[in-house]
């Protein structure tokens, strides 16, 4: 009996799920090697200001374009953290410096979507569908990825953190969402046998909702089983974790450590649309970057040895104007920077075809251009990290541009 049917049987009979460890799952035909290589996608919704995340302080134009919101040169008050003598990291991301030094963190600058829309909603749509410029695509690229990955489907193979199911994971492959943080592994009302049974009966015969309902039940059972053996239920005896993303990241790491069947995780963070008063080394943007950096560092650390087999990619729908506007902020732009962290990242480097931010180089005289298509970055990830064939990649990213031989941010 395969695992899905076993879970269904247990659900129907209202029996408790007894934690017997991974070996028992292995006995029913678990092949966790198929899910060994992990992918975490972090979407920054609202167009994060990439030019202040990885700032080209080495280009004299940078300070000219951003007289008050620009980062000072490394070493100065409010200065960027030097990366390579030309680019500097926003100081609020200091928690990522160790990963940079360990060469597990890299950036691909001037990357993004070839479509020039400056509508958040369209641009996010394109980033998630993986078909920029085409609105008719029904599913998300992360879901298409799921359909080509080898190995059996399972309830928690792809998870989205939070109460909504994002476009990027929509499609025919099953994916589920879990609550962020500790809530994701809390006892559910449906764990009570009488209640679970009552609702199971109603939902099993619902044409519309049976599948979503069952996916939720299966995923919950799976994470609860996985978590029980690590005493995740017990109160955290150590220092309390900060709220928000760092806390959620710590929980995600534990979840992934405990449940080897989780292969893909998705998290979205908002609040990046800094049209006014974004600040420089300190201020609005800095306040948002700090927990993001801490969370990513926490995730990397929390994964432990699993981090060697994980790639985390951070992306946003477009960047912001190179020039600051009259309100100490920036408007919608074009090119941005993608971040990659992980065991096989050839880190400690800023990749991409960088042209500088002189007037002649700016897209429409205002934005960082896009010189690396985001799909090229994701395709390299798919090819080298997830070992997908060209045919499989073509299914995930139909009509994608030709590979860029110069782009080499992942070791094979």
């Amino acid at each position: 009996m395969n695992r899905r049917n076993l879970l269904k049987l247990m659900a129907l009979t209202g029996s408790l799920v007894i934690p017997v460890g991974r070996q028992a799952w292995a006995a029913v035909g678990d092949d966790s090697s198929a899910t060994k290589r992990k992918l975490v996608v972090v979407m920054l919704r609202g167009a994060v200001d990439g030019l202040n995340v990885v700032a080209p302080y080495g280009d004299a134009n940078y300070a000219r374009l951003r007289p008050t919101i620009g980062l000072a040169r490394p070493g100065q008050d409010g200065g960027a953290l030097d990366l390579d003598g030309y680019f500097g990291l926003h100081p609020a991301l200091a928690s990522l410096q160790p990963l940079w030094e360990q060469k597990k963190l890299a950036f691909i600058h001037a990357s993004g979507s070839p479509d020039a829309t400056r509508s958040h909603f369209d641009a996010q749509d394109y980033l998630e569908s993986g078909t920029p410029g085409r609105k008719s695509t029904q599913d998300g690229w992360l879901n298409r990825l799921l359909t080509v990955l080898p190995g059996a489907a399972s309830p928690t193979r792809a998870i989205s953190i939070g109460p909504l199911m994002p476009r990027i994971l929509t499609g025919r492959a099953p994916a589920t969402n879990l609550a962020a943080g500790a809530a994701g592994t809390r006892q559910s009302i449906l764990d009570r046998p009488q209640i679970g049974s009552a609702f199971d009966q109603m939902y099993q015969s619902s044409d519309k909702y049976a599948s979503a309902y069952q996916d939720g039940r299966d995923a919950h059972k799976e994470v609860m089983t996985a978590s029980m053996k690590d005493e995740m239920q017990a109160a955290n005896g150590g220092a309390p974790l900060p709220n928000g993303f760092p806390n959620d990241a710590a929980h995600l790491a534990k979840l992934m450590r405990n449940d080897a069947k989780i292969q893909i995780a998705f998290v979205a963070l908002g609040g990046w649309d800094t049209h006014a008063y974004q600040g420089n080394a300190k201020g609005q943007l800095a306040n948002r970057l700090a927990p993001l950096g801490q969370g990513l560092a926490t995730l990397a650390q929390g994964l432990g040895p699993m981090f060697d087999d994980t790639t985390i990619v951070v992306m946003s729908e477009f960047g912001r104007t190179a020039r600051q506007n009259g309100n100490g902020g920036t408007d919608h732009g074009h090119g941005n920077v993608m971040w990659v962290l992980g065991g096989s990242v050839a880190g400690g480097k800023v990749y991409g075809d960088w042209q500088g931010v002189g007037d002649a180089q700016l897209h429409e005289g205002r934005d960082l251009p896009v010189t690396t298509d985001f799909r090229s970055v994701l395709a390299q990830l798919g090819e080298r990290h997830l070992r997908l064939s060209n045919l499989q990649l073509a299914q995930v990213f139909p009509a994608m541009p030709a590979a860029n031989p110069g782009l080499n941010f992942l070791r094979s």
Binding site: D122, L164, I189, Q201, A276, G326, N327, D331
Partner: protein, 514 residues
């Protein structure tokens, strides 16, 4: 009764996903349908009342909310919400005062700020939720939700916390079924929108702030120079034309120039409740080329002209009609209906009531395939549960908590596009579990929906209110819901322990749809 039967006959030939819809709709089903779509579902006795009145008469009466009196109890309750009833200037004054003291102050000052802000949040929420649950002007409440969302402002952004109550009360509610241009103008000039999308800061590119001028704007605004495109973009993309209407980046910038000076002065707002101020000093006096129009310098008139053009643009007619049809009829609205609504919009120069009338009287609206086709948003789910169960509520915090949990915090959409209302947006594995959790808590009387006796509206709800509420009566609930709960689900419910039945009804797949 001839009309609905003919619609039902048409439905027989249309593709339907509901097994039950092979037969024409019964009057019970039609009554439930209009209660679900023009409102937040039935209260006890509602299905019967609508049948008595007649479906068409019910629809027409809901389209004239001014003719429906509010129950005395509801009016009395709303009148106690002093923070919510105060003017924008008064609320802002209090908000700024506690914010300033708390910024330099000690824990006591911070606590005071929490109390003041907490009271504003709670009362604004109660004003909205009490009406949604208890007002007989159900369509008006649905339209307030629809238009607020269309002209979304995020309550968590700075001053908007203090301005959002006035925004809904003064710039949305009075215009929900009137002329769209009036609604558009009211939102464009309300400080909540001017602040949220930064237009209050936008100036001509060559503007120089005059230092030390008496009455000059303070703080952020005093130093702001240069064009801010944020509002101009969303005005076209979201509020009117829609993203595919063919406007260019240049049109965005030119419109932003036309709207420079559309602002407010926080000091003036606080002192004199002056919500809108056209600041001629900040206005870009140059000529503009916008959407094929040559626009000469006319001060505030340029922005008014822009709103006139946008309100009556065919793309706007289509965009709004699409959104209304998606909200009220089906996730993929029938194109023929959208076209007819757009035509009606233009014919009536933007009369929202008439567009709604066209929609509600359409065969597509009353089709069997439309009944039950919409998945409830978290807001619709929570309100319909409260309405059906008729639990007396004096503490709305558990409902706000449920909305947060379900991903739809009230006044909490951070981005200007607001919340979606489709199944794709809201149906996911975790959502069903969370809704069932809410349903079981509500049914068991475990939600602290009532403040301890003696506590008035001037105190924020305590952390632990009276937790002991009576559990819901399943029979009464099932009676109220009528055809909303299918025979099959009713059979399953009756096969389960009595103590679970109310929870099962509210958490059933049937109750997830409308």
């Amino acid at each position: 009764m001839k009309l609905p039967i003919r619609f039902a006959m048409l439905a027989l030939f249309s593709v339907s996903t509901l097994a039950a819809s092979a037969a024409p709709l019964t009057t019970d089903q039609q009554a439930l349908h209009v209660l679900n779509r023009l409102g937040y579902g039935p209260r006890p006795g509602d299905i019967e009342s609508v049948k008595q009145m007649g479906i068409e008469r019910y629809i027409d009466s809901q389209l004239q909310p001014e003719n429906i009196p509010l129950p005395a109890a509801l009016s009395a309750r709303l009148s106690t919400l002093d923070a919510s009833n105060a003017s924008a200037g008064e609320v802002l004054a209090e908000f700024l005062a506690v914010r300033k003291v708390a910024n330099d102050g000690d824990e006591a000052a911070k606590q005071k700020r929490r109390e003041v802000v907490g009271k504003i949040v709670e009362q604004d929420a109660e004003a909205r939720i009490a009406r949604a649950i208890d007002s007989p002007r159900q369509l008006e409440e649905v339209m307030v939700d629809f238009w607020f969302n269309h002209f979304n402002v995020y309550g968590g952004k700075g001053l908007d916390r203090a301005l959002i109550g006035s925004y809904e009360r003064d710039a949305i509610r009075p215009y929900v079924m009137g002329n769209f241009r009036d609604l558009l103008g009211a939102t464009a000039k309300h400080p909540a929108m001017l602040f949220y999308l930064d237009n209050w800061l936008s100036t001509a590119n060559d503007y120089q702030p005059v230092p030390g001028r008496r009455g000059a704007a303070q703080g952020q605004k005093g130093k702001a120079t240069g064009l801010n495109e944020n509002y101009a973009r969303e005005l076209m993309e979201l509020h009117t034309l829609g993203v595919d209407a063919g406007y260019t980046q240049k049109d965005v910038t030119e419109l932003a120039r036309m709207l420079t000076g559309w602002s407010f002065e926080p000091r003036e707002l606080v002192r004199n409740n002056r919500t809108f101020h056209f600041d001629a000093q900040r206005h870009d006096m140059g000529d503009k080329e916008w959407l094929g129009h040559h626009v000469g310098a006319q001060g505030q008139g340029e922005g008014e002209f822009a709103l006139d053009v946008l309100a009556m643009h065919p793309a706007t007619a289509h965009h709004l009609s699409y959104q209304l049809a998606q909200y009220f009829v089906q996730d993929n609205p029938p194109p023929e209906l959208v076209e007819r609504m757009a035509k009606r919009y233009l014919e009536t120069r933007g009369n929202i009531r008439e567009v709604l009338r066209t929609m509600f009287h359409s065969p597509q609206f009353m089709a069997a395939s439309t009944v039950g086709a919409k998945f409830k948003t978290p807001y619709q789910y929570v309100i319909s549960a409260a309405r059906a169960s008729q639990v007396p509520i004096t503490n709305v915090r558990p409902l706000l908590g449920a909305l947060n949990q379900l991903g739809m915090p009230l006044y909490g959409a951070q981005t200007p596009d607001g919340y979606k209302n489709t199944e794709a947006a809201w149906l996911n594995p975790d959502a069903l579990t969370r809704r069932i959790t809410f349903a079981t808590a509500l049914a068991a009387g475990r939600l602290p929906l009532n403040k301890p006796a003696g506590q008035d509206n001037n105190a924020a709800a305590p952390a632990v209110a009276n937790a002991a509420e009576p559990p819901l009566d399943a029979d009464s609930l099932l009676n109220t819901l009528g055809p909303a709960i299918s025979a099959k689900t009713r059979a399953t419910i009756s096969n389960n322990p009595a103590g679970l039945r109310a929870a099962m009804a509210l958490g059933s797949p049937d109750f997830m749809q409308r």
